[in-house]
Symmetry: C2
Subunit: 210 residues, 2 copies
């Protein structure tokens, strides 16, 4: 599956029944997300595995790569297309050695040096932020749009903006050569996730962001 980070949806199952969670994921896929990350922090390995398998059935149906947050073991166990690694996860170069050249490895970067390091260690794309404060990661540090622009100039891999982004505020990214946007709440908590995805995509296209 080709890596297209233009509309990258990161899930958060908090507060949803599994049925509703999967329903929302499928709605987002129908709405046009191009990449999907499963991120779970409080599940046992077995629970994470079982949920990941169900999500993978959906993403494969829509031809969208599934990225597993943090856990290479889960990604390998279900044959996911890739992993996303933050600064508290395995180092990129070690993950690349374990996963081989074909799996997608994404990294989080907040600064140009972090971005360069992740790229040099073998990351395939970067998530950069938080651009706005976010309810998903309350302790996260903000990254300015100037730094985002500098990172886009510094590395040849796709750079995505992340953090509190939604249809009404992504105009702040106009003119910055990002590859795409990452969202959690804008889709996850939308009344109609399919419509929210489609509208977000339309707005990003209208602004020439993607």
């Amino acid at each position: 599956m080709k890596l297209d980070t233009s509309l990258y949806f990161i899930t958060d199952s908090t507060g949803f029944s599994e049925e509703e969670f999967l329903r929302r994921i499928e709605a987002a896929l129908r709405g046009g997300v191009t990449l999907l990350q499963l991120r779970e922090k409080d599940k046992t390995t077995r629970e994470y595995l079982e949920l990941a398998r169900k999500v993978h059935v959906l993403t494969k149906r829509y031809g969208v790569p599934l990225i597993i947050d943090d856990r290479l073991d889960i990604a390998m166990a279900i044959g996911a297309e890739g992993v996303h690694l933050g600064q508290s996860d395995l180092p990129i170069d070690l993950a690349r050695k374990i996963l081989g050249p074909d799996k997608i490895i994404g990294a989080t970067a907040k600064t140009v040096p972090q971005a360069l390091e992740a790229y040099q260690q073998g990351a395939d794309y970067l998530g950069v932020g938080a651009i706005y404060p976010t309810t998903t990661k309350v302790k996260t540090v903000l990254t300015s749009t100037d730094t985002l622009r500098d990172i886009c100039a510094a590395v040849p891999i796709p750079v995505n903006a992340i953090g509190g982004l939604n249809r009404d505020n992504i105009d702040v990214l106009s003119g910055i050569p990002i590859a795409g946007i990452c969202v959690v709440s804008a889709i996850m908590k939308a009344e109609d996730p399919q419509q929210a995805t489609a509208e977000l995509k339309a707005r990003a296209q209208e602004l020439g962001l993607i």
Copy 2:
């Protein structure tokens, strides 16, 4: 490194500085543990990785295999000798597929059917218990010594007893063909972990358990 489960020490870093934790591990290795498991539940992947690397330096120095609890990603990242998988972790057969034939895979079993399943899926040894109530896993269910005996008879792989075991109570295991004993607190919380290990080993040998 050869698998010898006769005196299997499972660590618990709770309440110790890293320095003291590593000091106690080395003392246990000097005292004669034959297998060592690192079990961490509240660390980030990066923290788990870094601690595992330090523990691995020690275990290699004493020629003792290092088993990582639950996390195949950590085990692969540091080249540990194996993993231990409970009922909330990855299924044994899946782990075997990922790790290949040479890594040690241990499993937890509380009943004969669980033991048979783990063996058939490729487990190299079993931990069976809890024989006594334990402070490490407060919600665990007890396993009778009769069941332990039945499991020893049912599978051809090494079976270890676990759960609240110490020098003063392992006589309850007399006559059961276990391969070894697993302990956490008896060594981890001992005033002198090296001496505690040596005395536990001497007592187990005296009883003909190992």
